[in-house]
């Protein structure tokens, strides 16, 4: 598939479908983008498993950190990769050894590895590259408009509020 742009429906379908996410390269440093995204996804109700060999056994935001994808004790719906484009290839190889396979592999903003994506897609895994799930969630829920970002979406429907009210929107059905 074309990885230069994604339909909103494709991204929305993924964010709506996955429940468990393994985040490779999650940081314990509260000013790093991977920490932000971890915190945001937890807040949106996803179960997130931080993967970081340097922090294995410790926890980040209350979640136990694992050294590798294989150590995660539950089926992983989505692998979210915070590594550089080259290193992402090995992460995809590792993800493709999981049983069951993840439904989705997501590479963060600036991360793109087309060869690895081809392998994953051949195995039936949906791919997203060079995107951030926090930004995409914020865009599709309308939250990102609060910081003036062009969501590139138009809708005449009310935004959906999460149970905690106005400052929390959801893309859930």
């Amino acid at each position: 598939m074309n990885h230069d742009s994604y339909d909103d429906a494709y991204v929305r379908g993924i964010l709506d479908d996955v429940k468990t996410i393994a985040m490779v390269g999650a940081s314990a440093n509260s000013i790093r983008p991977s920490y932000f995204v971890l915190k945001y996804l937890l807040d949106k109700g996803y179960k997130v498993f931080p993967i970081n060999p340097g922090h294995a056994g410790k926890d980040i935001l209350g979640q136990t950190v694992y050294a590798s994808l294989a150590d995660v004790p539950e089926p992983i719906d989505m692998v979210d990769i915070f590594r550089n484009s080259e290193a992402a290839g090995a992460v995809v190889d590792e993800a493709l050894t999981l049983d069951p396979l993840p439904k989705v592999i997501w590479m963060q903003l600036t991360v793109r590895n087309d060869a690895a994506a081809g392998k994953a897609e051949a195995a039936g895994v949906r791919m997203i590259m060079n995107r951030c799930p926090k930004i995409e969630y914020g865009r599709l829920s309308g939250e990102i408009g609060w910081v003036g970002v062009n969501s590139r979406t138009l809708s005449s429907k009310r935004p959906k509020l999460a149970s905690r009210g106005f400052q929390h929107r959801t893309i859930g059905k």
């Binding site: 339909d7 909103d8 509260s30 000013i31 983008p33 920490y35 932000f36 915190k39 945001y40 807040d43 903003l109 600036t110 951030c132 930004i135 914020g138 309308g142 939250e143 990102i144 408009g145 609060w146 910081v147 003036g148 970002v149 062009n150 969501s151 590139r152 138009l154 809708s155 005449s156 429907k157 009310r158 935004p159 959906k160 509020l161 905690r164 009210g165 106005f166 400052q167 929390h168 929107r169």
Partner: protein
């Protein structure tokens, strides 16, 4: 299944950023006239202050009504994000505060709104920000002005008041070569007539007071981030590329990617300098923008007819309107503003200063005032008003010689606009 399609300009002008209110279902954007927003708990507050969650804290930094305006203009300009502020001057100020440190330089076209000339040339001296002037009629003057201290280039798409059309693409090439962002003030054209990001601009600013609001009732300014500039060069733009002390060492360009500039203007500039837009004004400006395409076309169509009328009038010496065939900027206008050359232009009266005074006194429908971009037709004689303090030589250099009259053509019936000028010219 049909292919996804991009909404057109008129659709974006009405819908971008504005879903029905989630709490009440209100279809028009509500005016959230509040200073502050409650937190759910301490952790939510910490996430908001730490920029980890999207949300509203305090109207000086962001407000849901202002946010709709921000997303609307970002969509209309084709940018990644925007920031609404109290005035066009505030927009310029936050842009330069984000880009410059004391001792830095920026290059600006001489052909600018007089208020910007004062801001850059006088007020910024106190900050140690040094403007170097260049001339849009001599593109090499921009190249020659580049130094190792240059941090930005600033131009207007259609220059106020003379109506000159700037060669954005040529100047964008110079900015790219110098490794600095090109800032375009798109106030006079509005995104309906000119799309600066498509021609290589990196940042757009607006006085929303003018055509965007369009009804002469609210002051406001906008900054739009094109998402095109790479802020990563170490030390060059420290607000974006260096750890930010007031956010625990966060690096903004790493965290916010292609909308980092708009975020920096908000979370540093607006937070610390304070020129927030009122939610009420944001609502007025939003209402104006819904009809921008209709108004802007009518402004331009009317202006062309009035310019043609004046050009044929025996008491008129010359007309500077780039929409006129044969005008010095007509070719550039066809390229950058193909739907029309805007509402504002100047012309010269054979009778000089006294004729200018007589004309502004003699009009009955035109309003004699110092704004542009109103539904109403506006007139001003710069030599006796805005440029009164200058010497005759300075007036002429500024395009405000004793014979010059500036018009901002409104959207009334064009026959009535021409009739008013006709009767006033008769009395000179």
């Amino acid at each position: 299944m049909s292919e996804p399609r991009e909404p057109g300009f008129s659709t974006l002008a009405i819908h971008a950023g504005a879903q029905p209110d989630p709490s009440t279902g209100a279809r028009a954007t509500p005016i959230y006239q509040t200073t502050s927003f409650v937190f759910d708990d301490v952790d939510h507050a910490a996430s908001l202050f730490g920029l980890q969650a999207f949300g509203n804290i305090y109207t000086r930094i962001g407000n849901p009504t202002c946010a709709v305006l921000e997303e609307r203009i970002a969509a209309l300009e084709g940018g990644t994000a925007a920031l609404a502020v109290a005035s066009g001057h505030a927009a310029e100020h936050l842009v330069f505060h984000t880009l410059l440190s004391p001792g830095d330089e920026f290059i600006a076209a001489r052909q600018l709104y007089g208020g910007s000339v004062n801001q850059f040339g006088e007020a910024y001296k106190k900050f140690g920000w040094n403007v170097v002037w260049a001339d849009i009629d001599d593109i090499s003057s921009f190249e020659n002005a580049v130094s190792d201290k240059t941090k930005a280039i600033f131009i207007e798409s259609i220059a106020n008041p003379g109506g000159a059309i700037t060669d954005i693409e040529a100047i964008s090439k110079i900015a790219k070569k110098a490794g600095v962002p090109l800032i375009v003030d798109n106030t006079m054209a509005s995104p309906y007539l000119c799309q600066p990001f498509k021609h290589g601009a990196d940042i757009i600013v607006h006085s929303a007071t003018k055509f965007l609001g369009g009804h002469g009732n609210s002051i406001g300014g906008l900054i739009v981030d094109g998402g095109t500039f790479d802020w990563s060069a170490p030390g060059k733009y420290p607000s974006l590329s260096e750890p930010c002390a007031s956010y625990q060492g966060m690096v903004l360009y790493e965290t916010f990617g292609n909308f980092a500039f708009a975020i920096a203007c908000r979370v540093l500039g607006l937070r610390d300098l304070g020129p927030a837009l009122s939610p009420f004004n944001a609502f007025m400006l939003l209402t104006g923008i819904e009809t921008l395409p209709l108004r802007m076309q009518r402004h331009s169509d009317n202006a062309l007819k009035v310019a043609e009328y004046l050009k044929a009038h025996p008491k008129v010496d010359y007309v500077n309107y780039s929409g006129l065939e044969g005008d010095k900027y007509n070719e550039a206008a066809k390229k950058y503003c193909p739907k029309g050359a805007g509402a504002v232009f100047t012309f010269g009266l054979k009778g000089g200063y006294d004729a200018g005074v007589a004309l502004v006194s003699g009009v009955e429908m035109f309003s004699h005032l110092a704004n542009i971009g109103d539904t109403r037709s506006l007139i001003i004689h710069p030599a006796s008003t805005t440029h009164r303090q200058l010497t005759d030589e300075q007036k002429t250099k500024a395009g405000a010689g004793p014979e010059v009259v500036r018009l901002s053509i409104g959207i009334e019936e064009v026959a009535d606009i021409i009739a008013d000028l006709d009767q006033a010219l008769e009395k000179i």
